[in-house]
């Protein structure tokens, strides 16, 4: 029996670029080049490893986002995913995490799954809650924030390193997994992978294909709203000294003047 794995990947503005907000207070996606969120590369990597360890498995990458978000799915296909799905609809502009989780859940159901794999958080929104929301909507166990994961005998197991303890988790399939950046380096696409990706099926869906009402998504459908965004004032230039043998003492002097010692 084949193992159907769906990995959710997000297309985000490059964090090393000068990111800012558009006039309607959504993330400005034009100012900075986009890419597959680095944290979702770990999700693709683990999805591929789980598939490779199974007898018969297929990995489908899914993204929700504007036209160029297709780039996220394409990268996943280059890394080794078999199929891609891109959900694109003008009505999606400004969708919040609640709405994103709704559309993603519908898309994942449309694709069909035994295992859903996500990243730990998106590098632009950084909320880290879409995985829990997906598990709630799909009605399947959430096995999240794993630094180690394995699937065998219809069960997923993994290690979750929390604030106060490290936990060993276990759930029956179908289940949702999210993986951290401690789960193991993601592979680079090979030349063969890059060439092969162009021939892989990449389906584009809109909201009507998924039976989602446009009123439930977008800026107007959002359950929360950004009122304003302010650039953080630039830090005033500090004092910088070169260590000529007294650097530690000078630093101590500064800390004392600031009443830290």
């Amino acid at each position: 029996m084949s193992l159907r794995i769906v990995v959710a990947v997000k297309y985000v503005p490059d964090a090393t670029g000068d990111r800012h907000f558009a006039e309607d207070l959504t993330t400005d996606r034009d100012a900075v080049d986009g890419l597959l969120s680095e944290l979702d590369e770990y999700a693709v990597e683990q999805a591929l490893q789980i598939a490779e360890a199974a007898d018969d498995a297929e990995v489908t990458a899914v993204t929700i986002g504007p036209e160029d978000a297709r780039g996220a799915v394409l990268k996943a296909l280059q890394m080794g995913a078999a199929k891609g799905v891109h959900v694109e609809d003008d009505a999606l502009h400004g969708t919040d995490i609640i709405g994103t989780s709704l559309v993603l859940a519908k898309a994942i159901e449309h694709i069909g799954y035994d295992l859903v794999v996500t990243g730990m958080a998106s590098t632009d929104g950084t909320a880290g809650v879409v995985p829990a929301l997906l598990a709630e909507r799909l009605g399947i166990p959430q096995v999240t924030l794993l630094s180690e994961v394995a699937v065998a005998d219809g069960k997923v197991t993994g290690r979750r390193d929390g604030d106060v303890a490290s936990e060993q988790l276990e759930a029956a399939l179908p289940a949702l997994v999210s993986v951290t950046d401690q789960s193991g380096e993601a592979r680079y696409p090979s030349f063969k992978g890059i060439m092969g990706a162009k021939k892989k099926p990449l389906e584009t869906l809109d909201l009507s294909d998924l039976g989602v009402d446009a009123a439930e998504v977008g800026l107007d459908g959002a359950w929360s709203a950004v009122q304003d965004a302010t650039a953080r004032p630039a830090r005033t230039a500090g004092t910088i000294v070169k260590d000529e043998g007294e650097g530690g003492k000078q630093l101590a002097e500064f800390l004392a003047a600031q009443k830290f010692i």
């Binding site: 964090a15 090393t16 990111r19 800012h20 907000f21 207070l25 995490i97 609640i98 989780s101 880290g128 809650v129 829990a132 598990a135 709630e136 909507r137 009605g139 166990p141 959430q142 096995v143 999240t144 979750r160 929390g162 604030d163 106060v164 303890a165 936990e167 060993q168 988790l169 029956a172 289940a175 951290t180 950046d181 401690q182 359950w223 929360s224 709203a225 950004v226 009122q227 304003d228 965004a229 650039a231 953080r232 830090r235 500090g238 004092t239 910088i240 000294v241 070169k242 260590d243 007294e246 650097g247 530690g248 003492k249 630093l251 101590a252 500064f254 800390l255 600031q258 830290f260 010692i261």
Partner: protein, 320 residues
């Protein structure tokens, strides 16, 4: 006055500091009602009452420890249905955010995560968040349902505000999903005796420049002289020199102490995301061009193995 639910983060009844900060915030919006799940409700209620909780809704069941996240969502949902709160506040830990998200969906409420401040507003609470590695600060409101807001450590001061803190049992019936993810085993993290990274007033961090696990003793010695927590960059963590639980940055902890001292850390955007809101920033780096110097109040261009031990000696001497 409207009641505000506060989810209590605790270890066997010992309430963690961020929960007390939430009580301060809850009092800006209404009357705090705490929700305590697991053992130790009586001990916790005493502390919660001292900080403003009028009631402490308590439930204990093996499910809370034996299964991941969902039993706590079931309990918080029961509390919200019983209380009809004006808002629900949850500490912004990894687990807290997951609980809050599922709860929000069940209640039909909008959610705001990782708030660094929350104020009362004309149309409900207004939450401040940091965006794009703290380059921006945004203010948001919830448009649907009772707002569910997760709040980061250090968002508000801990304030004494005596209230009844009466313990009341909370009836919880677990749904089918509650036992979906079993916690097969749990290994508690060893305490170092140093302050908690996210709660510390001073954080001393080391990066790739520390160049080896054994050399972190230089960083620890400075931290101990100042009573500080120890942090590390991802490069130092990935090299295996320091535990991941001490990582500062986008995929580690975000800290906002009074004083942050970065040693041998270049200041990559993902590191800055976790420390940029620190009040005073100091760096020691041998490269005068390192981007960390753009952030500092005071910087020393030099070898950390000369500067840091000298600083540690000075601190000890001055403290007597």
């Amino acid at each position: 006055m409207a009641e505000v639910l506060v989810y209590v983060d605790h270890v066997d009844g010992a309430v963690r500091k961020p929960t007390l900060e939430l009580l301060t915030i809850a009092r800006r919006i209404g009357e705090p009602v705490a929700v305590h799940l697991g053992p130790g409700a009586e001990a916790a209620a005493k502390v919660l009452g001292e900080h403003g909780a009028t009631r402490v809704l308590a439930a204990d069941a093996p499910e809370f420890a034996d299964y991941l996240v969902v039993p706590k969502v079931d309990a918080l949902e029961a509390a919200a249905k019983a209380v009809g709160p004006a808002a629900v506040l949850v500490p912004s830990s990894a687990e807290g955010k997951e609980i809050a998200a599922r709860l929000a969906l069940r209640l039909g409420s909008g959610i705001i995560t990782d708030a660094v401040d929350v104020e009362a507003g004309a149309d409900g609470p207004v939450a401040t968040q940091s965006a794009f590695a703290a380059a921006f600060s945004t203010r948001s409101t919830v448009r649907k349902g009772a707002p569910v807001i997760t709040v980061k450590p250090n968002a508000a001061p801990v304030e004494a505000a005596p209230a009844a803190g009466a313990v009341e049992p909370l009836e919880v019936s677990f749904g089918e999903l509650a036992t979906g993810t079993k916690v097969v085993s749990r290994t508690p993290r060893q305490s170092t005796g140093r302050p908690e990274l996210t709660e510390a007033a001073i954080v001393v961090s080391g990066g790739r420049g520390v160049n080896g696990a054994e050399n972190f003793s230089v960083i620890e010695a400075l931290a101990d002289s100042l009573g500080a927590a120890v942090g590390a960059s991802r490069a130092a963590v990935d090299a295996g020199w320091y535990p991941h639980s001490n990582q500062v940055g986008q995929t580690g902890k975000s800290v906002s102490p009074q004083l942050y001292i970065a040693n041998g850390i270049s200041g990559a955007i993902q590191h800055r995301a976790g420390m940029q809101t620190s009040k005073t920033i100091v760096a020691v780096n041998k490269d005068a061009e390192a981007p960390i110097f753009d952030l500092v109040d005071y910087g020393v261009v030099g070898d950390l193995f000369n500067v840091v031990p000298q600083l540690t000696e000075e601190v000890k001497a001055r403290k007597g």
